[in-house]
């Protein structure tokens, strides 16, 4: 018999024995979420897209700043968020990541509403409002990436939001 097959069977038996012993001893078997490189990349890509868009909006004049003129960003964001949401829902990740992705989705919707209001008022979104928007996004991205990095480092994801402390003050010009 192939050595690899024998090794795999041995590992499987060991895992079964450990699980049974653990169950007999009253341990709680808990599935730990695994680091997901694809999700990590998706989040970074989305962050880059958001940051590029916010930077583009700064100091822009009509019609470049209008919601109608930037529909492609919102359409692309909707797709990116849906893909991340599906990936997280299908994985062993706890509800923590689902909540952060939902929060990102809400922030995009809020930005959309802000720009629609500005369209009605015939003006562009202000730089200070962009800074506040950026701060909200940064809070969410930092929590998300810190969670993924904690998984990558094989640490408890509960350590994740520590990175949120470095977020710049809302309203600060960058």
């Amino acid at each position: 018999m192939n050595k690899a097959v024998i090794a795999a069977r041995t590992h499987w038996r060991t895992a079964c024995v450990v699980t049974l012993l653990c169950a007999a001893a009253g341990c709680t078997v808990r599935w730990t979420p695994l680091y997901d490189a694809t999700l990590d990349k998706d989040v970074t890509d989305f962050q880059q897209s958001v940051e590029t868009y916010l930077t583009k909006l700064q100091g822009q004049v009509k019609p470049g700043c209008t919601y109608q003129n930037n529909l492609d960003f919102f359409q692309k964001s909707s797709v990116q968020l849906a893909l991340m949401q599906t990936r997280v829902n299908a994985s062993q990740h706890s509800t923590q990541l689902q909540e952060i992705i939902q929060s990102l989705s809400n922030t995009v919707k809020d930005l959309q509403t802000l720009q629609q209001i500005d369209d009605k008022n015939d003006k562009c979104i202000s730089d200070a409002a962009i800074a506040d928007t950026r701060s909200a996004f940064e809070t969410e991205f930092e929590a998300m990436l810190a969670y993924e990095l904690a998984l990558k480092a094989n640490q408890p994801p509960s350590a994740a939001p520590a990175a949120g402390k470095s977020t710049a003050a809302p309203g600060a010009k960058k």
Partner: protein
């Protein structure tokens, strides 16, 4: 923003959240305080923007919602926390400063 002191706001927010979270508070205090600081700074930024005519009160509410939403998600992602507990903590923190904020800003930013 005149009439709004971030340190005072933070103290009120922390006390209110601690009352809601009780035994969970010591574990989340550091993170929650950071988030409350962001909310307080957002409130002063919003106040300045409304006062200068850069944004309307409708837009002000959306900007606060953004930060409130993000902070709630971060607090909910802490170990032992749930979205409901995080929401209750953030709501209690905002309720604690509602009077002084709305009065200083001259409009009802916090509903």
């Amino acid at each position: 923003m005149p009439g709004l002191d971030i340190a005072t706001l933070l103290e009120s927010m922390g006390t209110a959240a601690a009352g809601v979270l009780q035994s969970k508070w010591p574990a989340v205090r550091s993170f929650a305080t950071t988030e409350f600081q962001k909310i307080a700074q957002t409130i002063t930024s919003i106040g300045a923007q409304v006062a200068s005519g850069e944004i309307t009160t409708d837009e002000a509410a959306i900007l606060l919602d953004m930060q409130q939403n993000a902070s709630r998600a971060v607090i909910a992602s802490l170990e032992g926390m749930t979205l409901i507990a995080a929401e209750q903590a953030v709501n209690a923190a905002l309720a604690a400063i509602k009077g002084v904020v709305n009065s200083a800003l001259g409009f009802a930013l916090i509903a």
